[in-house]
């Protein structure tokens, strides 16, 4: 492997999806900037015309913060045909790692969520108990309830449309997944009170209507693999 200034700090590779620009992860950022500038100046005529090319930037083991990302993007997009699609780096901050771990976690909660109480978690939540009318359960991921949902459940709080609300007994006031809402039918319209279904179900966003639908919980694996 070549070292020092003789090595190419910026490599451009063509792939099926478009161009990948591989940046060296050992040199200083300033060196990288200089090299990138040179390269762009040299190859300007290649990129200045023709159809737009989507570019993936691979920073290897270099940590790229937002500021660096912007500098690199600006340098690359000086050539009109280049559009930076994505940044890829093997390195993330501890904070980001912690957030990702939370998103992937399943939090188990054992309580009855009563009127006026709100239980909110990052990631998925498993409730061993009921949600009573006036109470709410929220998660950025999925909501699983081993009990009766009579209150409000919100899944995909930050916009994940692929999340579900599952309950052993589904008798909700309200369900929302991302920003799609479902109100239970009015008590007077419903002929009698009681659960909406006589077996465990989950609520999900049906496409393309973008409406909340229900399906039997034992078919949840089909939704997950979709």
């Amino acid at each position: 492997m070549k070292t020092g200034s003789s090595k190419n700090l910026v490599t451009i590779k063509g792939t099926k999806e478009g161009l990948t620009i591989i940046l060296d992860d050992q040199c200083s950022f300033d060196d990288l900037k200089v090299e990138l500038k040179d390269k762009m100046a040299r190859d300007k005529q290649v990129f200045s015309s023709g159809p737009e090319v989507e570019v993936l930037v691979d920073a290897g083991y270099r940590y790229v913060n937002e500021e660096h990302e912007k500098v690199i993007t600006d340098l690359l997009e000086e050539a009109q045909a280049i559009k930076v699609k994505e940044f890829h780096s093997e390195v993330i901050t501890k904070e980001e790692a912690k957030r990702q771990r939370e998103e992937d976690a399943l939090t188990a909660v054992t309580q009855i969520i009563r009127s006026g109480q709100v239980v909110s978690v990052r990631g998925d939540i498993l409730l061993l108990g009921d949600v009573n009318p006036g109470g709410a359960i929220e998660a950025t991921g999925n909501v699983y309830i081993l009990g009766t949902l009579k209150g409000t459940a919100r899944a995909g709080l930050e916009g994940n449309l692929q999340t579900v609300v599952s309950a052993s007994v589904m008798e909700p006031n309200q369900i929302s997944i991302s920003d799609v809402l479902f109100y239970a039918p009015d008590r007077y319209e419903k002929k009698q009170s009681g659960p909406l279904f006589d077996e465990p179900v989950y609520a999900y966003i049906a496409t393309p209507e973008k409406e909340i639908s229900f399906e039997k919980t034992r078919l949840l694996n089909q939704f997950k693999t979709e």
Partner: protein
């Protein structure tokens, strides 16, 4: 050393004061030393229900602020020597008392009584916090209405955050004929929603209103079904196991025949 039981509900008008007066009276009937404490400052009622409003000289706030000794503020009941009432102040409001003072007053009462029954005001603000601060146990009163059950649920949630024994449930004004048709919640619905132990239920009985009007708790009247309900609750508080009484009441011959034939009674 006595035990302090707070009677609370969240919603107003479900029968906290009536329940306090009658559980107190029923426990006194069993020969226990009972002190009723009214914490509904500014809207006191317990003295009226007990028929003792003319005898009030000092009140809870006077005792808490040291204007009198706690014993001086106590009123002895007309009917029992072992039943006393500590009335609330009528001229002040809920902020006249703080939880620390309440705790102190209850601690002072504990050595002299078997049970201290604390009547809690409606709501979840200062008055509720005061009433709960002195208590060891809680009884939640509700009626079989959706709104009352919702508020009771809220209260149970709040009580669970306090250092109290698990709250017990009293369902008041249970109506037999309506609940059969599914037009109101039935007792099972209420118990399954709140998921706490049922201490007892009181059937809807006009006699309760009449008795309150006379200033005599219904528990004194041995012929009323509501009275039996309160007496059963008292016995359960004392640790006896008493079966729940049927809400149906005595059926006539035809009603019995109908229910045997599977028709709605």
């Amino acid at each position: 050393m006595g035990e302090a039981i707070v009677i609370t509900s969240g919603k107003g008008g479900v029968g906290k004061t009536t329940t306090s007066a009658n559980i107190g009276t029923a426990l006194a009937l069993q020969g226990k030393n009972i002190c009723l404490v009214d914490t509904d400052i500014g809207l006191r009622n317990l003295d009226v229900v007990m028929g003792l409003e003319n005898r009030i000289i000092y009140d809870l706030v006077d005792a808490a602020e040291g204007r009198c000794r706690v014993q001086q503020a106590l009123i002895k009941d007309k009917r029992f020597d072992c039943l006393h009432l500590l009335p609330a102040a009528q001229t002040k409001d809920k902020s006249a008392l703080n939880p620390e003072q309440m705790k102190q007053v209850v601690e002072e009462l504990k050595p002299d009584y078997d049970y201290i029954i604390i009547d809690c005001p409606a709501g979840i603000e200062q008055g509720y916090k005061n009433a709960v601060s002195g208590a060891d146990q809680a009884v939640v009163v509700t009626t079989p209405d959706t709104s009352a059950v919702r508020d009771a649920d809220r209260i149970v949630g709040l009580l669970e955050q306090e250092e109290l024994a698990a709250p017990k449930l009293v369902i008041n004004r249970v109506r037999s004929h309506l609940s059969n048709y599914g037009d109101t919640l039935d007792v099972d619905d209420v118990v399954s929603t709140l998921a706490i132990d049922l201490l007892g239920m009181i059937v809807d009985d006009e006699e309760v209103l009449k008795a309150a009007h006379k200033g005599e708790p219904i528990a004194m009247n041995p012929n009323s079904r509501a009275s039996i309900g309160y007496r059963n609750i008292a016995r359960r508080i004392l640790g006896e196991s008493v079966p729940l009484m049927s809400i149906e009441g005595k059926k006539g011959f035809f009603a019995k025949m109908k229910s045997m034939l599977g028709l709605k009674a």
